[in-house]
Symmetry: C2
Subunit: 158 residues, 2 copies
DNA sequence: GCTAATCTGTACTTTATAGTCAAGATTACT
DNA sequence: AGTAATCTTGACTATAAAGTACAGATTAGC
């Protein structure tokens, strides 16, 4: 069970846009450079975020991306669903049953019930977290890094 | 965040082998047919499970796969790690930092701390569950399906 | 209106995952 | 020893995900 590149970079870009604050905006070249990915790829990811309704784009000179809503109204779980889909739907009978008529068979149901439990556990984390939480975390981190000498390479682990 | 095909079919095959019970064994053709995948693909998946130390293979006539340990000693989290890797390792700075020197930067750390929280939540489910739990679940399900008329297509949702 | 900075969309290439194939090795049974 | 059933391996093909390229559309400022 891995994170897709979309999920990783998509969320990072969203955090950066959120960090730009109300009225602030970020351009594709800026995010591209900050994340170390190509502008074309950043554009592709931002398109997903825009279609998902999380960011708004302004074209032309002085354009860029801003949050479509206040950070506290953006639930990370929703963002992740749009960027990478859900754990569970990819393993329903229809997609992984092969030719066997096994939806009513017990092996499927015990495995599916496990997947569902995993999905619930993930949702409990991701549906409680809003973008605001990540931004605050970030501010804490800035302080953290500033106050601790030699903090280079330090990772914030809750 | 999705399940890989390896995770889905690997765990299903393991459940089937476990269901065969102590001393019982299953062959590749049997699992292939039960899961509706090709024998070659089943073989590939079983190789992963064998190298992970979860099943033992017996070659030759009357051969097949059996559990390498009692079902209660097989932790599903370990199986999933072998079949599909972990959420977190794929998103460390080294793999997704691009060219930017950002391990100490706050965006990374807030996102990584979120991934870590997700991983912890998943682990809480998967490290508590053993293969035995899935097998018991299966027996319950058999009863469930037998006792309820028209249960075809019914899904066991805890 | 012209220019520069920006987003948009489609189509393309590359890489990773999923899935197949065929030849070889092992074992039980006769 | 011979045969049939089984696992083992490595190389192959197909499909999906990741990442790129480029021409087009929009806007601000002059």
């Amino acid at each position: 069970m891995k994170l897709s590149a979309n999920e990783e970079y998509g969320l990072r870009c969203l955090v950066r846009i959120g960090y730009a604050g109300e009225g602030g905006s970020l351009t594709i070249p800026e995010m591209s450079q900050a994340e170390g990915v190509s502008p074309a790829y950043a554009a592709k990811i931002l398109r997903v975020l825009r279609r998902g309704g999380f960011v708004k784009a302004a074209r032309g000179k002085d354009g860029g991306y801003t949050l479509a809503r206040p950070a506290e109204a953006i639930v990370i779980g929703d963002v992740m669903d749009v960027l990478g889909g859900r754990i569970f739907e990819s393993s329903f009978c229809d997609s992984h049953a092969g030719q066997a008529p096994i939806c009513t068979r017990s092996v499927d149901c015990s495995v599916r019930s496990l997947w569902r439990a995993v999905q619930v556990a993930v949702d409990q984390v991701l549906s409680k977290a809003t973008l605001r939480d990540l931004l605050q975390n970030e501010e804490e981190m800035n302080t953290w890094v500033r106050t601790i000498p030699g903090a280079k390479g330090l990772h914030f682990i809750q």
